[in-house]
């Protein structure tokens, strides 16, 4: 296997971990994993994200709410008192 082929398989591990690959590619990735310890380690690091990631609501990924102004100084005041 040349370097480009390996890179392509390795970079497919994200979709593989999320079970989003078409059957033929998934089979090829699985076959590669059997013989590649590095890719197995890559997969082991990202695979546990698949289930909790499902709970993320894309609608929440907009603007982040900011804490009220003055909270920092109010904390410093309380500590000083």
């Amino acid at each position: 296997m040349n370097r480009d082929e390996h890179r392509e398989l390795r970079e497919s591990l994200g979709l593989y971990a999320l079970d989003l690959l078409p059957e033929d590619v998934r089979t090829a990735v699985r076959a590669h994993l059997d013989g590649c310890r590095d890719c197995r380690a890559e997969l082991a690091a990202i695979a546990p994200l698949a289930t909790p990631l499902r709970t993320v609501d894309p609608a929440r990924l907009g603007a982040l709410p900011a804490p009220p102004e003055g909270l920092r100084e109010s904390i410093v005041e309380r500590v000083r008192a």
Binding site: G14, I46, L49, P52, L61, P67, I75, V79
Partner: protein
């Protein structure tokens, strides 16, 4: 996985905070106050309550500053642990309030908040925060393919990139998410 538990987050790495010092307290707030506030807001659903909790968190941290050991946990992990406890205490206090003007069904809602305060909620919230730290390209690739369930070829056409690029963005996006989780000591 415990491997990275004690690693200090990049923001506080190389610097020791002493919360008994006013300037360090300000610096600690600047580094972590906003995310602690968002966490409390997510748990409590009330801006005033979230504000009170964050104030209480820093007061508690200040009182126990002498016990803070950065070789065990980063300041960020420590403050998050205090925040979790403070949120739980806050909800308990709300429920225990003897003369309560709130109707019974609101008490049930508070009960649900307690039941809901699980590691799953924490994990989901941390993932959302971590998603914000990804580059827009990586985030969009993960959101469109996985969260919105669209075929990656279709997403690639919309972004005007080859399908292989979307594949690699999902891969590097997940790696970055994992790193963000490790940084704050979340076990997966």
């Amino acid at each position: 996985m415990n491997r990275t538990r004690g690693r200090r987050s990049p923001r506080t790495a190389g610097r020791l905070f002493d919360l008994r010092d006013e300037d360090d307290m300000r610096a600690a707030y600047d580094a972590h106050g906003a995310e602690l506030y968002r966490f409390a807001l997510r748990q409590l659903g009330d801006e005033g309550a979230a504000r009170d909790v964050v104030q209480e968190v820093f007061l508690r941290a200040w009182r126990s500053a002498a016990r803070f050991d950065p070789s065990i946990a980063s300041l960020r992990v420590w403050l998050f642990a205090i925040t979790r406890n403070t949120v739980v205490d806050h909800v308990r206090r709300q429920r225990a309030r003897p003369v309560s003007p709130v109707p019974g069904d609101t008490l049930d809602n508070n009960g649900a908040v307690v039941a809901d305060f699980s590691d799953d909620v924490m994990l989901s919230w941390i993932l959302e925060e971590a998603m914000h730290r990804l580059s827009p390209e990586h985030r969009d690739a993960v959101v469109e393919t996985y969260l919105r369930g669209r075929p990656h070829e279709e997403v690639a056409r919309e972004f005007g990139v080859p399908a292989g690029t979307v594949r690699s963005r999902v891969f590097y996006g997940l790696k970055a998410l994992r790193l963000a989780m490790d940084e704050i000591g979340v076990e997966l």
